[in-house]
Subunit: 192 residues, 2 copies
Protein backbone atom coordinates (compact mmCIF):
# COMPACT_ATOMS: atom_id res chain seq x y z
CA UNK A 1 0.00 0.00 0.00
CA UNK A 2 1.26 3.46 -0.85
CA UNK A 3 1.57 5.06 2.55
CA UNK A 4 1.99 8.50 1.03
CA UNK A 5 -1.73 8.64 0.49
CA UNK A 6 -2.88 6.72 3.49
CA UNK A 7 -0.54 8.33 5.96
CA UNK A 8 -2.55 7.72 9.12
CA UNK A 9 -3.64 4.33 8.01
CA UNK A 10 -4.69 2.64 10.38
CA UNK A 11 -5.50 0.59 13.40
CA UNK A 12 -6.07 -3.10 12.77
CA UNK A 13 -5.30 -2.87 9.08
CA UNK A 14 -8.85 -1.62 8.57
CA UNK A 15 -9.37 0.67 5.57
CA UNK A 16 -12.62 2.61 5.30
CA UNK A 17 -13.60 3.96 1.90
CA UNK A 18 -16.59 6.07 0.97
CA UNK A 19 -17.65 6.62 -2.64
CA UNK A 20 -20.20 9.40 -3.07
CA UNK A 21 -21.91 11.20 -5.89
CA UNK A 22 -25.27 11.59 -7.50
CA UNK A 23 -27.69 8.82 -8.34
CA UNK A 24 -26.86 7.33 -11.72
CA UNK A 25 -23.10 7.80 -11.31
CA UNK A 26 -22.60 4.16 -10.44
CA UNK A 27 -21.23 4.64 -6.94
CA UNK A 28 -22.94 1.48 -5.66
CA UNK A 29 -21.57 -0.66 -8.46
CA UNK A 30 -18.13 0.83 -7.78
CA UNK A 31 -18.46 -0.18 -4.15
CA UNK A 32 -19.48 -3.72 -5.07
CA UNK A 33 -16.55 -4.00 -7.50
CA UNK A 34 -14.04 -2.74 -4.93
CA UNK A 35 -15.35 -5.07 -2.22
CA UNK A 36 -15.24 -8.06 -4.56
CA UNK A 37 -11.73 -7.15 -5.68
CA UNK A 38 -10.67 -7.20 -2.03
CA UNK A 39 -12.53 -10.32 -0.94
CA UNK A 40 -12.96 -12.58 -3.93
CA UNK A 41 -9.69 -11.85 -5.75
CA UNK A 42 -7.36 -10.43 -3.10
CA UNK A 43 -8.14 -12.79 -0.22
CA UNK A 44 -9.00 -10.01 2.23
CA UNK A 45 -12.29 -9.49 4.04
CA UNK A 46 -14.68 -6.79 2.91
CA UNK A 47 -18.04 -5.35 3.80
CA UNK A 48 -19.92 -3.12 1.43
CA UNK A 49 -22.83 -1.03 2.65
CA UNK A 50 -25.43 1.37 1.35
CA UNK A 51 -27.34 3.38 3.90
CA UNK A 52 -30.39 5.13 2.57
CA UNK A 53 -31.91 7.90 4.61
CA UNK A 54 -33.82 10.99 3.53
CA UNK A 55 -30.91 12.10 1.32
CA UNK A 56 -31.61 9.12 -0.95
CA UNK A 57 -34.86 10.80 -1.98
CA UNK A 58 -32.80 13.82 -3.07
CA UNK A 59 -30.81 11.74 -5.51
CA UNK A 60 -27.55 11.47 -3.57
CA UNK A 61 -25.78 8.14 -3.79
CA UNK A 62 -23.14 6.70 -1.54
CA UNK A 63 -21.42 3.38 -1.08
CA UNK A 64 -19.12 2.37 1.73
CA UNK A 65 -16.47 -0.32 1.67
CA UNK A 66 -14.49 -1.57 4.65
CA UNK A 67 -11.50 -3.75 3.82
CA UNK A 68 -9.36 -5.65 6.27
CA UNK A 69 -7.07 -8.63 6.47
CA UNK A 70 -8.84 -9.33 9.78
CA UNK A 71 -12.44 -10.09 10.53
CA UNK A 72 -14.57 -6.95 10.26
CA UNK A 73 -16.57 -6.39 13.42
CA UNK A 74 -18.32 -3.18 12.49
CA UNK A 75 -19.42 -2.90 8.88
CA UNK A 76 -19.93 0.82 8.40
CA UNK A 77 -17.43 3.60 7.89
CA UNK A 78 -16.63 5.26 11.20
CA UNK A 79 -14.25 7.87 9.78
CA UNK A 80 -13.10 7.45 6.23
CA UNK A 81 -9.52 6.79 5.18
CA UNK A 82 -10.53 7.63 1.62
CA UNK A 83 -13.40 9.67 0.23
CA UNK A 84 -14.15 9.88 -3.48
CA UNK A 85 -16.62 12.70 -4.22
CA UNK A 86 -17.97 13.13 -7.73
CA UNK A 87 -20.35 15.95 -6.80
CA UNK A 88 -20.08 19.12 -4.74
CA UNK A 89 -22.91 17.96 -2.53
CA UNK A 90 -21.13 14.68 -1.82
CA UNK A 91 -17.94 16.55 -0.99
CA UNK A 92 -19.74 18.99 1.30
CA UNK A 93 -21.60 16.23 3.07
CA UNK A 94 -18.78 13.79 3.74
CA UNK A 95 -15.43 15.62 3.71
CA UNK A 96 -15.67 16.45 7.41
CA UNK A 97 -15.83 12.74 8.19
CA UNK A 98 -12.39 12.05 6.70
CA UNK A 99 -9.72 10.80 9.09
CA UNK A 100 -6.86 13.18 9.80
CA UNK A 101 -4.42 12.47 7.00
CA UNK A 102 -7.14 10.78 4.99
CA UNK A 103 -7.27 10.99 1.22
CA UNK A 104 -9.91 13.10 -0.52
CA UNK A 105 -10.30 12.53 -4.27
CA UNK A 106 -12.70 14.84 -6.11
CA UNK A 107 -13.75 15.39 -9.67
CA UNK A 108 -11.93 18.53 -10.80
CA UNK A 109 -14.85 19.89 -12.80
CA UNK A 110 -17.72 18.96 -10.50
CA UNK A 111 -16.25 19.99 -7.18
CA UNK A 112 -15.15 23.60 -6.84
CA UNK A 113 -15.09 24.13 -3.09
CA UNK A 114 -12.85 21.84 -1.07
CA UNK A 115 -13.67 22.11 2.63
CA UNK A 116 -10.47 20.46 3.89
CA UNK A 117 -6.78 21.25 3.59
CA UNK A 118 -5.74 18.99 0.80
CA UNK A 119 -7.29 16.95 -1.92
CA UNK A 120 -6.52 15.24 -5.18
CA UNK A 121 -8.42 17.08 -7.90
CA UNK A 122 -8.59 14.88 -10.99
CA UNK A 123 -10.55 15.10 -14.24
CA UNK A 124 -12.41 11.89 -13.52
CA UNK A 125 -15.52 12.48 -15.60
CA UNK A 126 -13.57 14.18 -18.39
CA UNK A 127 -11.25 11.18 -18.60
CA UNK A 128 -14.23 8.83 -18.73
CA UNK A 129 -15.70 10.77 -21.62
CA UNK A 130 -12.46 11.14 -23.54
CA UNK A 131 -11.26 7.55 -23.08
CA UNK A 132 -14.53 5.62 -23.41
CA UNK A 133 -17.02 8.14 -24.75
CA UNK A 134 -19.29 7.35 -21.83
CA UNK A 135 -19.54 9.51 -18.73
CA UNK A 136 -21.04 6.55 -16.86
CA UNK A 137 -17.58 4.93 -16.73
CA UNK A 138 -16.40 7.72 -14.38
CA UNK A 139 -17.08 5.36 -11.49
CA UNK A 140 -14.49 2.93 -12.85
CA UNK A 141 -11.99 5.70 -13.66
CA UNK A 142 -12.36 6.69 -10.00
CA UNK A 143 -11.64 3.11 -8.92
CA UNK A 144 -8.44 3.04 -10.98
CA UNK A 145 -7.35 6.34 -9.49
CA UNK A 146 -8.17 5.24 -5.94
CA UNK A 147 -6.39 1.89 -6.25
CA UNK A 148 -3.45 3.46 -8.09
CA UNK A 149 -2.97 6.01 -5.31
CA UNK A 150 -3.55 3.70 -2.35
CA UNK A 151 -2.83 0.12 -3.36
CA UNK A 152 -5.71 -0.96 -1.13
CA UNK A 153 -6.20 -3.90 -3.49
CA UNK A 154 -3.93 -5.20 -6.24
CA UNK A 155 -4.30 -3.99 -9.80
CA UNK A 156 -4.89 -7.56 -10.93
CA UNK A 157 -7.74 -7.98 -8.46
CA UNK A 158 -9.53 -4.78 -9.39
CA UNK A 159 -9.19 -5.68 -13.07
CA UNK A 160 -10.72 -9.09 -12.41
CA UNK A 161 -13.59 -7.58 -10.43
CA UNK A 162 -14.29 -4.96 -13.11
CA UNK A 163 -14.33 -7.65 -15.78
CA UNK A 164 -16.71 -9.81 -13.74
CA UNK A 165 -19.13 -7.01 -12.85
CA UNK A 166 -19.17 -4.83 -15.96
CA UNK A 167 -22.45 -5.13 -17.86
CA UNK A 168 -22.09 -7.69 -20.63
CA UNK A 169 -20.45 -6.16 -23.69
CA UNK A 170 -18.89 -3.27 -21.75
CA UNK A 171 -15.94 -5.15 -20.26
CA UNK A 172 -13.35 -3.62 -22.56
CA UNK A 173 -14.44 -0.01 -22.19
CA UNK A 174 -14.59 -0.45 -18.43
CA UNK A 175 -11.08 -1.89 -18.38
CA UNK A 176 -9.98 1.10 -20.48
CA UNK A 177 -11.62 3.42 -17.95
CA UNK A 178 -9.83 1.61 -15.13
CA UNK A 179 -6.49 1.94 -16.91
CA UNK A 180 -7.11 5.67 -17.40
CA UNK A 181 -7.56 5.98 -13.64
CA UNK A 182 -4.29 4.16 -12.99
CA UNK A 183 -2.50 6.39 -15.53
CA UNK A 184 -3.82 9.48 -13.78
CA UNK A 185 -2.65 8.10 -10.42
CA UNK A 186 0.84 7.62 -11.86
CA UNK A 187 0.89 11.20 -13.16
CA UNK A 188 -0.12 12.49 -9.74
CA UNK A 189 2.44 10.38 -7.90
CA UNK A 190 5.24 11.38 -10.28
CA UNK A 191 4.71 15.11 -9.81
CA UNK A 192 4.68 14.93 -6.02
Amino acid sequence: MNRKYLSNHTENDRTEIRLAGEGGQGMILAGVILAEAAAVYDGQNAVQTQSYGPEARGGASKAEVVISAQQIHYPEVISADVLVALSQEACDRYASNLKKGGLLIVDRDQVGRIPVNSAIRAPIMALAESVTGRAITANVVALGLLVGLTGVVSRQSIEAAVSARAPKGTESINLAALAAGFDEARRILSRN
Copy 2:
Protein backbone atom coordinates in the same frame (compact mmCIF):
# COMPACT_ATOMS: atom_id res chain seq x y z
CA MET B 1 -47.77 -5.83 5.86
CA ASN B 2 -49.15 -9.34 5.75
CA ARG B 3 -48.64 -10.52 9.31
CA LYS B 4 -49.36 -14.10 8.33
CA TYR B 5 -45.85 -14.35 6.99
CA LEU B 6 -44.09 -12.10 9.40
CA SER B 7 -45.77 -13.36 12.53
CA ASN B 8 -43.11 -12.42 15.05
CA HIS B 9 -42.35 -9.21 13.34
CA THR B 10 -40.85 -7.27 15.19
CA GLU B 11 -39.35 -4.87 17.64
CA ASN B 12 -39.08 -1.29 16.46
CA ASP B 13 -40.62 -1.96 13.11
CA ARG B 14 -37.26 -3.30 11.96
CA THR B 15 -37.39 -5.93 9.23
CA GLU B 16 -34.26 -7.93 8.46
CA ILE B 17 -34.05 -9.69 5.11
CA ARG B 18 -31.33 -11.93 3.77
CA LEU B 19 -31.10 -12.92 0.10
CA ALA B 20 -28.70 -15.75 -0.56
CA GLY B 21 -27.64 -17.90 -3.45
CA GLU B 22 -24.74 -18.54 -5.74
CA GLY B 23 -22.61 -15.93 -7.43
CA GLY B 24 -24.20 -14.82 -10.68
CA GLN B 25 -27.77 -15.19 -9.40
CA GLY B 26 -28.10 -11.45 -8.85
CA MET B 27 -28.62 -11.50 -5.10
CA ILE B 28 -26.72 -8.24 -4.64
CA LEU B 29 -28.73 -6.43 -7.28
CA ALA B 30 -31.90 -7.78 -5.65
CA GLY B 31 -30.77 -6.35 -2.34
CA VAL B 32 -30.04 -2.96 -3.88
CA ILE B 33 -33.44 -2.93 -5.59
CA LEU B 34 -35.28 -3.85 -2.39
CA ALA B 35 -33.43 -1.23 -0.35
CA GLU B 36 -34.11 1.46 -2.93
CA ALA B 37 -37.78 0.47 -3.10
CA ALA B 38 -37.98 0.96 0.66
CA ALA B 39 -35.97 4.15 0.94
CA VAL B 40 -36.26 6.05 -2.31
CA TYR B 41 -39.84 5.16 -3.26
CA ASP B 42 -41.49 4.09 0.01
CA GLY B 43 -40.14 6.75 2.35
CA GLN B 44 -38.67 4.28 4.84
CA ASN B 45 -35.05 3.92 5.89
CA ALA B 46 -32.94 1.09 4.57
CA VAL B 47 -29.43 -0.28 4.82
CA GLN B 48 -28.11 -2.79 2.36
CA THR B 49 -24.98 -4.77 3.13
CA GLN B 50 -22.71 -7.34 1.55
CA SER B 51 -20.24 -9.06 3.83
CA TYR B 52 -17.54 -11.01 2.06
CA GLY B 53 -15.55 -13.55 3.99
CA PRO B 54 -13.91 -16.77 2.87
CA GLU B 55 -17.24 -18.09 1.53
CA ALA B 56 -17.12 -15.41 -1.17
CA ARG B 57 -14.16 -17.27 -2.71
CA GLY B 58 -16.38 -20.35 -2.94
CA GLY B 59 -18.91 -18.53 -5.09
CA ALA B 60 -21.63 -17.97 -2.48
CA SER B 61 -23.43 -14.67 -2.71
CA LYS B 62 -25.51 -12.94 -0.08
CA ALA B 63 -27.13 -9.58 0.38
CA GLU B 64 -28.75 -8.21 3.49
CA VAL B 65 -31.38 -5.51 3.73
CA VAL B 66 -32.64 -3.89 6.90
CA ILE B 67 -35.78 -1.78 6.52
CA SER B 68 -37.33 0.41 9.16
CA ALA B 69 -39.56 3.43 9.53
CA GLN B 70 -37.09 4.48 12.25
CA GLN B 71 -33.43 5.29 12.05
CA ILE B 72 -31.36 2.12 11.67
CA HIS B 73 -28.69 1.91 14.34
CA TYR B 74 -27.15 -1.43 13.43
CA PRO B 75 -26.91 -2.14 9.72
CA GLU B 76 -26.47 -5.90 9.57
CA VAL B 77 -28.98 -8.69 9.97
CA ILE B 78 -28.98 -9.95 13.56
CA SER B 79 -31.57 -12.68 13.03
CA ALA B 80 -33.52 -12.65 9.82
CA ASP B 81 -37.26 -12.06 9.55
CA VAL B 82 -37.06 -13.32 5.98
CA LEU B 83 -34.55 -15.55 4.21
CA VAL B 84 -34.66 -16.21 0.48
CA ALA B 85 -32.40 -19.12 -0.46
CA LEU B 86 -31.85 -19.98 -4.11
CA SER B 87 -29.31 -22.72 -3.44
CA GLN B 88 -29.04 -25.62 -1.01
CA GLU B 89 -25.81 -24.24 0.34
CA ALA B 90 -27.43 -20.88 1.05
CA CYS B 91 -30.32 -22.60 2.82
CA ASP B 92 -28.01 -24.77 4.91
CA ARG B 93 -25.84 -21.83 5.85
CA TYR B 94 -28.47 -19.30 6.86
CA ALA B 95 -31.71 -21.08 7.81
CA SER B 96 -30.62 -21.47 11.43
CA ASN B 97 -30.33 -17.70 11.72
CA LEU B 98 -34.04 -17.14 11.00
CA LYS B 99 -36.10 -15.58 13.75
CA LYS B 100 -38.72 -17.84 15.38
CA GLY B 101 -41.72 -17.43 13.13
CA GLY B 102 -39.56 -16.00 10.38
CA LEU B 103 -40.27 -16.65 6.73
CA LEU B 104 -38.07 -18.99 4.69
CA ILE B 105 -38.53 -18.88 0.92
CA VAL B 106 -36.59 -21.41 -1.14
CA ASP B 107 -36.39 -22.40 -4.76
CA ARG B 108 -38.35 -25.62 -5.06
CA ASP B 109 -35.96 -27.26 -7.50
CA GLN B 110 -32.65 -26.09 -6.05
CA VAL B 111 -33.31 -26.72 -2.37
CA GLY B 112 -34.27 -30.25 -1.38
CA ARG B 113 -33.45 -30.33 2.33
CA ILE B 114 -35.20 -27.78 4.53
CA PRO B 115 -33.56 -27.63 7.94
CA VAL B 116 -36.42 -25.81 9.69
CA ASN B 117 -40.07 -26.59 10.34
CA SER B 118 -41.75 -24.65 7.62
CA ALA B 119 -40.88 -22.96 4.40
CA ILE B 120 -42.38 -21.62 1.21
CA ARG B 121 -41.14 -23.80 -1.62
CA ALA B 122 -41.71 -21.98 -4.91
CA PRO B 123 -40.54 -22.62 -8.47
CA ILE B 124 -38.61 -19.36 -8.58
CA MET B 125 -36.05 -20.25 -11.24
CA ALA B 126 -38.56 -22.24 -13.29
CA LEU B 127 -40.92 -19.24 -13.31
CA ALA B 128 -38.08 -16.98 -14.39
CA GLU B 129 -37.28 -19.26 -17.29
CA SER B 130 -40.86 -19.81 -18.36
CA VAL B 131 -41.97 -16.17 -18.07
CA THR B 132 -38.91 -14.33 -19.35
CA GLY B 133 -36.76 -17.03 -20.93
CA ARG B 134 -33.89 -15.93 -18.72
CA ALA B 135 -32.90 -17.70 -15.52
CA ILE B 136 -31.06 -14.56 -14.43
CA THR B 137 -34.41 -12.90 -13.69
CA ALA B 138 -34.99 -15.38 -10.83
CA ASN B 139 -33.71 -12.71 -8.47
CA VAL B 140 -36.57 -10.41 -9.47
CA VAL B 141 -39.15 -13.23 -9.35
CA ALA B 142 -37.94 -13.78 -5.79
CA LEU B 143 -38.46 -10.10 -5.00
CA GLY B 144 -42.04 -10.22 -6.27
CA LEU B 145 -42.71 -13.30 -4.18
CA LEU B 146 -41.11 -11.81 -1.08
CA VAL B 147 -42.96 -8.50 -1.37
CA GLY B 148 -46.23 -10.23 -2.28
CA LEU B 149 -46.01 -12.43 0.83
CA THR B 150 -44.82 -9.80 3.29
CA GLY B 151 -45.80 -6.37 2.05
CA VAL B 152 -42.50 -5.08 3.39
CA VAL B 153 -42.60 -2.41 0.66
CA SER B 154 -45.45 -1.42 -1.62
CA ARG B 155 -45.88 -3.06 -5.01
CA GLN B 156 -45.63 0.37 -6.65
CA SER B 157 -42.29 1.01 -4.96
CA ILE B 158 -40.71 -2.29 -5.91
CA GLU B 159 -41.89 -1.82 -9.50
CA ALA B 160 -40.31 1.62 -9.60
CA ALA B 161 -37.06 0.31 -8.16
CA VAL B 162 -36.93 -2.62 -10.60
CA SER B 163 -37.53 -0.24 -13.52
CA ALA B 164 -34.80 2.10 -12.34
CA ARG B 165 -32.19 -0.62 -11.71
CA ALA B 166 -32.84 -3.13 -14.47
CA PRO B 167 -30.07 -3.10 -17.09
CA LYS B 168 -31.10 -0.88 -19.99
CA GLY B 169 -33.38 -2.74 -22.38
CA THR B 170 -34.40 -5.36 -19.81
CA GLU B 171 -36.97 -3.28 -17.91
CA SER B 172 -39.99 -5.03 -19.37
CA ILE B 173 -38.78 -8.59 -18.84
CA ASN B 174 -37.79 -7.72 -15.30
CA LEU B 175 -41.23 -6.24 -14.61
CA ALA B 176 -42.75 -9.44 -16.03
CA ALA B 177 -40.53 -11.46 -13.68
CA LEU B 178 -41.65 -9.31 -10.77
CA ALA B 179 -45.31 -9.81 -11.68
CA ALA B 180 -44.76 -13.58 -11.85
CA GLY B 181 -43.45 -13.45 -8.29
CA PHE B 182 -46.51 -11.51 -7.12
CA ASP B 183 -48.80 -14.00 -8.90
CA GLU B 184 -47.07 -16.88 -7.16
CA ALA B 185 -47.47 -15.12 -3.80
CA ARG B 186 -51.19 -14.74 -4.46
CA ARG B 187 -51.49 -18.45 -5.28
CA ILE B 188 -49.72 -19.34 -2.06
CA LEU B 189 -51.81 -17.00 0.06
CA SER B 190 -55.06 -18.23 -1.49
CA ARG B 191 -54.40 -21.89 -0.73
CA ASN B 192 -53.54 -21.29 2.92
